[in-house]
Point group: C2
Chain length 231, copies 2
């Protein structure tokens, strides 16, 4: 009996909690994942180090890094220092937040598609989530479905009848469900970084939307976040 | 009587003949274009200098450059030195050429969309052409239409009812028609570069697919290509 080789996949890995969980899900699903980390001039490069450690901790064989600078485009609190990162917002559900980066997930998935086609993978995994940030247009199921249709028109593989599938396994999960799933699969969340506005030593602020949602997720999952918070 | 301000647009400008023509078409259509040049580790950086000169010659107010490296991905003669650029192919119509770069136009349009949303433009212009390289999947009208649908699901502007239009004015034009149009609009083609494999001083090889199509285009347009060719 021959065991089939695991199917290749490309996993977008940011260094945050969600994409680390997605990597574990892809591995648990029998895929051989190549990780792809995209650095676009966001405020902190700590996430990149986190992505490297997460990939290493999960035995990923190939980890590609693509770097470019979206800061000259402006238009987002994550790339423009003149726009403040909101802290302690009473209600995160107020439309599209200033941390929205124009077309970010379109850019991310375009690179993932390029790497997937070049390396012979037909499965792309990403950590987009429509629950916690319902305001981001490029985190909705209809965006993912539309990108998948595009991918199969845009590529040699798609046109030649070897279509791509875009997996967004977290899209309808709440943060505490994601955390429970990741803990079940052995994700080491102490390696991950989520804060939009960390201190230079990597300590999370504990007050931005991302920290608040993460902390609440660990609380609802009945456990403690292993990363360090200020104050 | 007040004259309305010209509408902003983003024009993908490579430094080649097609995108220079598209820039002229956008200007002639009354748009105020921001040019976007994308450097992805293709074999020659001469195109970037050409893009700068073309933008300057047409009085473009904003010219953004995005740089990243697709070479580690591999899979194309334009990014992988181990794959040769084909020369003097008798028939260019042999399926998808090795100069295809996986998902390249998806990546390009994703960046154009990001810049457009960030700067308040709703019109994106690109020079894709389905006639000369019928083999490239991401040069077909159905690809452009699919990207436009994606753009309006992916963005804050699209979701909020201020949709994007992706213009590909050359998509059904032959090279000589493009050249005639550009000459009519005053494009200085001596500033443009098309060769896939130029000499270090910028001299075009005259034998790659791109040179052959360009030379034939000038011949059919009844004029002479002003750029220098080897031999």
């Amino acid at each position: 009996m021959t065991v089939p080789a695991p199917r290749k996949a490309v996993v977008l890995l940011s260094g945050g909690l969600d994409s680390a969980t997605v990597l574990a899900i892809a591995k648990a699903g029998g895929f051989d994942p190549a990780a792809l980390t995209i650095v676009y001039g966001q405020r902190h490069a700590l996430e990149t180090d986190a992505a490297r450690e997460v990939a290493r901790s999960m035995g990923v064989g190939r980890h590609e890094l693509v770097q470019f600078d979206l800061r000259p485009f402006g238009g987002s609190a994550l790339t423009d220092p003149s726009i403040g990162v909101p802290k302690d917002r009473g209600d995160a559900d107020e439309g599209i937040p200033v941390t929205y980066v124009p077309a970010r997930n379109t850019i991310f998935l375009a690179f993932a598609l390029s790497l997937a086609e070049a390396c012979g993978a037909r499965d792309i995994f990403c950590g987009v989530n429509a629950m916690d940030y319902s305001g981001y247009p490029d985190c909705r199921p209809e965006f993912i479905e539309s990108f998948e249709r595009l991918a199969n028109l845009a590529t040699k593989a798609g046109v030649e009848g070897s279509p791509f599938t875009v997996h967004a396994p977290l899209i309808r999960m709440r943060k505490h469900e994601i955390i429970r799933k990741g803990l079940e699969l052995g994700v080491n969340y102490s390696l991950t970084r989520s804060c939009y506005d960390p201190a230079p030593d990597g300590t999370a602020c504990g007050h931005c939307d991302s920290c608040r949602i993460r902390l609440e997720g660990f609380r609802l999952a009945g456990t403690t976040d292993p990363v360090r918070y200020a104050g």
